[in-house]
């Protein structure tokens, strides 16, 4: 059975309204302020670090993203804070309309539910994109200004690819937050579930993954005797860790921003034959390594959005 009319009727209207709401909301200002302050601080320390330790590096600009005080690099900070931003933007997307009793009034206008959901998602994604772009420009600008090294073309392309991956990562969390806003009638529940998932996936899961891997494929003691890690065990740890989008994001980001990264898993000796250790890979090779992670993140966005879409279409609008 085909529906009459375009599912996109009203999409632009919803998009513009939601974008205006986001950009002018206190919530967004707060989060953007937080991320900018932290970002600038981290970059400041990163520049300090680079000045002291790096004599010569063809990719000095990229180091701005990956180095900082101890482990606190910009990539790490983004990995932690972006989900928070995305949850803050999406947790009351649909249930907020429910609770304000605007949903049935809006849906009685000649639009499909598709337009409302897609408009809200795109507006959230644009808001995140604007914030990321600003942060990115600040970092690159500060870097050029303070380091005094003009970036090469490849550096810029790598940075832009990193920006895209970051956006996909943020999009996955946004789609998840919107799914919660559809499934949970109360906004408070949606926020709590979202934060719980965030804590679990970013903080607990890396350790749990190791535990599960040891159960599934216990490390062979013979490897331990030789002072080596069991490749089976390592493989499982990595696969399980990759369930967390945080892991996918940090792997992809590292590959793109540290051109010397040759592989993300265990490296076998025969893979290193003929390799010049410490030499940067060409851009295409780095992209090839980061590709599965990037695709997984984008697939995550799509799967979560579709789950939300199906749930929303089947939902009763009455309060």
């Amino acid at each position: 059975m085909r529906r009459e009319g375009s599912p996109w009727a009203g999409l632009r209207t919803v998009y513009v309204k939601e974008l205006t709401d986001h950009i002018s909301s206190v919530r967004m200002l707060l989060l953007a302020g937080l991320i900018f302050i932290i970002g600038c601080t981290v970059v400041y320390f990163a520049i300090d670090n680079i000045r002291q330790t790096t004599a010569e590096d063809p990719f000095v600009l990229l180091k701005l993203f990956t180095s900082g005080p101890s482990v606190l690099s910009l990539v790490f900070i983004l990995g932690i804070l972006l989900p928070l931003m995305a949850i803050a933007l999406g947790f009351d997307a649909i249930n907020g309309e429910h609770n304000r009793r605007t949903l049935s009034r809006i849906l009685s206008q000649p639009i499909y539910r598709d337009a409302l959901l897609a408009g809200k998602f795109l507006a959230g994604l644009t808001t995140l994109g604007i914030n990321l772009l600003c942060l990115w420009l600040i970092v690159v600008g500060l870097g050029i200004r303070l380091l005094g090294v003009p970036p090469s073309g490849e550096e810029i392309v790598r940075c832009l690819a990193f920006l895209m991956i970051t956006l996909a990562y943020a999009g996955a969390w946004l789609a998840f937050a919107m799914l919660l806003s559809i499934v949970c009638r109360s906004a408070a529940t949606a926020v709590l579930v979202g934060l719980a998932a965030w804590l679990f996936l970013t903080l607990l899961w890396p350790f749990l993954a190791e535990g599960f891997a040891n159960l599934i494929a216990p490390a062979d003691p013979r490897y331990a005797l030789l002072g080596l890690a069991d490749p089976d065990n390592i493989w499982w740890v990595q696969i399980l860790r990759r369930i967390s989008p945080n892991q996918l994001f940090s792997e992809a980001a590292t590959t793109l921003l540290a051109p010397t990264t040759r592989a993300l898993g265990a490296v076998y000796i025969d893979q290193l034959r003929g390799a010049v250790l410490g030499a940067p890979l060409p851009l295409s090779e780095s992209l090839a390594i980061a590709w599965p992670q990037a695709v997984s993140l984008i697939a995550g966005v799509i799967v979560l959005f579709v789950a939300g879409y199906v749930a929303f279409q089947r939902q009763e609008v009455r309060a």
Binding site: G5, T13, R100, R101, T102, S104, R105, S108, Q109, P110
Partner: protein, 320 residues
């Protein structure tokens, strides 16, 4: 009579095993005010949502302006305005901004928007608070803003869900007057309410709901005749030398005359017999002091109907 604007045949909605709307049939004619009345939870809102294609129909058929709301929801929603129960607006936006958002969703061209918003706000007497945030609005003002949205839409049918619940008596009166103005503008109105007596005045025809079924349908006077036996109760207060009982009893249409006080009579009739009653008093050389008619009250009709039914059932049980 022209073709009905809303026609339901055997309309049914089930949630799992619970049947919320159970095979109802009704027609709403063009230009009339039709009331879906009944207690909360009787299936009124569900019926309305099915008309708008906002919830799926389990069985049966519904046509709105000759469209099927399930297959062509946009065509229906373009021409039908809906005021939900306890309508909500975006509190941080002004009344005008809220309407502008809906106007864009309706697809009203940008150059017409301003004029139509102003006109709609003027019609519901909110023109002077158009620039105020909806946050500051009272319940009655929000309700009127919802009506402004329907006016702005130039809707052919206005569907109002519980439009007067939670309003104070004055706001209710104002709102009912606005509904009648809508009718005079040629809009067919379908309203649902659990406040039977409050809305009976404006409804041309009503359908009384009970547990997902329509138990009674027709104009209030028709229902009164059907259920109460007679529709009108006329009270006369007069003193006269001769006996008035017989004279009142002779008026055609009067089914019973009861003396309720020294000089007070209560006439039960199937129509408004005030003129004849007055004439009778004058003919008997009496002094007419008071003459009033009680409109049949819907709540009474509703309650009486169920009393009759339960006594009939008891009767059946006794017979068995």
């Amino acid at each position: 009579m022209s073709a009905p604007v809303i026609a339901a045949r055997g309309l049914t909605k089930r949630y799992g095993k619970a049947t919320v709307v159970d095979g109802i049939d009704f027609d709403v004619a063009k230009g009339e005010i039709f009331g879906l009345l009944g207690p909360n939870g009787a299936g009124k809102t569900t019926t309305i949502l099915m008309m708008l294609g906002l919830t799926e129909v389990t069985a049966g058929d519904i046509r709105v302006l000759d469209h099927d709301p399930v297959r062509e929801p946009l065509a229906v929603k373009r021409r039908v305005g809906y005021l939900p129960d306890q309508v909500g607006f975006y509190d941080n936006l002004t009344a005008i901004d809220n309407l502008a958002y809906s106007a864009q969703l309706m697809g009203i061209p940008a150059r017409e928007r301003g004029a139509r918003i102003d006109e709609a706000l003027a019609r519901v007497r909110l023109a002077d608070v158009g620039e105020k945030r909806v946050k500051t609005f009272s319940r009655g003002m929000r309700q009127r803003l919802g009506l402004a949205e329907i006016v702005m839409k130039n809707a052919e049918i206005a569907i109002l869900d519980e439009p007067t619940s939670g309003l104070d008596p004055q706001a209710t009166e104002e709102f009912l007057a606005m509904i009648e103005a809508l009718k005079h503008a040629g809009v067919s109105v379908l309203l649902s309410s659990h406040l039977l007596d409050q809305v009976q005045r404006v409804c041309d025809r009503v359908a009384l709901f009970q547990a997902g079924r329509i138990v009674l349908m027709g104009s209030v006077a028709e229902l009164a005749r059907q259920v109460l036996g007679a529709g009108f109760v006329v009270e006369v207060e007069a003193d006269a030398a001769s006996d008035l009982d017989a004279r009142f009893g002779a008026i055609p249409g009067v089914s019973a005359v009861a003396r309720v006080g020294a000089d007070r009579y209560r006439l039960t009739a199937d129509r408004d017999v005030r003129p004849e009653a007055a004439r009778a008093v004058v003919a008997a050389n009496g002094a007419l002091r008071r003459l009033s008619v009680d409109d049949p009250r819907l709540a009474e009709i509703y309650n009486r109907y169920f009393q009759n039914q339960s006594s009939r059932e008891e009767g059946k049980r006794d017979a068995a």
